[in-house]
Symmetry: C2
Subunit: 301 residues, 2 copies
DNA sequence: GGATGTCATGCGCTACTAGCATGGCTGCGT
DNA sequence: ACGCAGCCATGCTAGTAGCGCATGACATCC
């Protein structure tokens, strides 16, 4: 029972005439007549009584009509559903992101996205890069904002990596620190400084890469949150490295210096999607907003 | 969006593979591949991600799938509905019949019909022949059991008349009446009898036709119901004509005589349906039961 | 690294279906 | 009362859509 036959049948039933239905559907009368005949042959019964003036539904025709209506209505609903998805008038977007990205980059992109496509349901999960990638492959997230270092290159061929930005590291020092007036600084100059880091083991901190190059920071204070680190820095307890992405709204008692390019560990930030799978429209669109948000973090310094 | 495409799409989605779906649907892989491509072209989006091992639904595919399921399910429901109607596993039968037919003929036919097709909803309306025919044309009844005389020939070309029987008239006399032992009687012999009839005007009674032939019955008692008439007859108040159809379960104090064929007014009983319209399956089947029931009223005398 | 699975696609053929024309039928209007 | 106009069915023809048979590209598994 092809839908066109049902469409024709519905029109004929509604207009009460094969000829009228043919005109309405831009067919010839013969075509419609034959389509009705085909439908009747398929269901094995007469659906219409041919009267001298038009047609009338038989019992079976009356039984079929509401089903035909329902089928055709659902069909257009199906089309609408897919179209809405394409036009981002519906659907969802499940984003995963690592902690620092949730500080500003991802929220800004999400805000811009929601302003443009308010009908799309958003969700955001913070997590570590490996966990985020697991979510991706499990189908629990549509896109994950992840970073490459220090956990090693994540060029796993199972993911499409859309490069967003290279995250620069800033050195936070107290506003009255001798280095506070400088624009850039070299690691070597910091040999005597006390570092406030996320882990007592230098290898697991933002300086992990530099350790291999021979630089061993002195870590006296361990703090997990950026706000805590900055508080220690402001109090003159030491210096800290913070990624640009986390350096939003730095208080005035803190000065931020850029590291010399040669000393800077490379932390590449990507938006990852599952390789081989086509990106849902919401993801494609969201990537553009991510790009825009990322641009705001690469130019200012 | 033709239903075959949806069927193919559903199978592919369910089996996770175009090749598997092709096997399942008895198509070649190329055919299925092309049908999916056609569906995708029609909705304007990719519905499947082609993976090295089978396929996976895209966001749009996931959105379409439940609709496809619903459409196909409804489609088979439609087919079932029509089939049930044809097999008399559903539907309704609305019968109209004149008063005497409701006494026994129609109830017996209905009972037999219901025994054979319990799923069909039955309804029965009693009425006069013209009103019944109006119900038919108005579409409020499916079949009407009507009688031709005395209201004149009803060969209106708007109806298909299925002849059921010629209703014979019986003369009811008291068991101790002089005529009680006879098998047949002529009208001329009844000139002196007192008639119990439905109307004081002989023209409007069952003898209406005979009036034209010169027979004028003496009507002393008017009774509308057959039971009332028979009561009067049994009490020796007179004689009465009753149609065979109403002579069911006659009490023992009544004797029934047949009129001489030449004196008998012809009352032809038909099952009428609207001309030009195909008969619903229930009606066709019911006519057979009516024929059977009618046979029981023609043979016994 | 060959073998085997996946899906896409060019090619030829068939079969469906649309249009055109005609014919039969019925009811309307003159 | 009779022709006419409208309705639907159908024989015929042409275009095309869709199938199967190949083959090709690609990735995985043994």
């Amino acid at each position: 029972m092809e839908t066109q036959l049902l469409e024709v049948f519905r029109t004929v039933a509604h207009l009460g005439s094969i000829t009228a239905a043919a005109r309405h559907l831009r067919f010839t009368q013969s075509a419609v007549s034959r389509q009705i005949a085909a439908l009747e042959a398929e269901v094995g019964t007469r659906l219409l009584d041919r009267l001298p003036r038009g047609i009338a539904l038989t019992e079976q025709g009356r039984a079929l009509l509401p089903h035909a209506d329902a089928v055709l209505d659902r069909l257009s609903a199906a089309r609408r559903a897919v179209d809405e998805l394409d036009r981002l008038d519906a659907g969802r977007l499940r984003v995963g992101a690592f902690a620092t990205a949730v500080a500003a980059l991802v929220p800004r992109a999400l805000a811009a996205f929601r302003a443009a496509h308010p009908a799309v349901a958003l969700s955001l999960v913070e997590g570590m890069t490996p966990a985020l990638l697991d979510r991706l492959t499990a189908g629990d997230a549509d896109v994950a904002v992840v970073s490459s270092a220090p956990s090693g290159p994540l060029d796993d061929s199972r993911f499409d990596l859309h490069h967003l930005l290279d995250e620069h590291l800033l050195l936070a020092v107290a506003a009255d620190h001798p280095l506070a007036g400088r624009r850039t600084v070299r690691l070597a100059e910091l040999a005597g400084e006390s570092f406030i880091a996320g882990s007592p083991h230098a290898e697991r901190t933002l300086l992990g890469d530099s350790v291999a190059a021979g630089f061993r920071p002195r870590i006296d204070i361990v703090a997990g949150e950026w706000t805590g680190k900055l508080g220690c820095v402001a109090a003159g307890l030491g210096v800290a490295l913070i990624p640009v992405l986390a350096a939003r709204g730095t208080p005035p008692d803190i000065a931020l210096l850029r590291l010399h390019p040669d000393d800077e560990p490379v932390r590449r930030v990507y938006a990852a999607t599952v390789a081989g799978r086509s990106r849902p429209p919401a993801v494609t669109r969201f990537l553009a907003h991510l790009d825009q948000a990322a641009a705001a973090f690469t130019t200012p310094l």
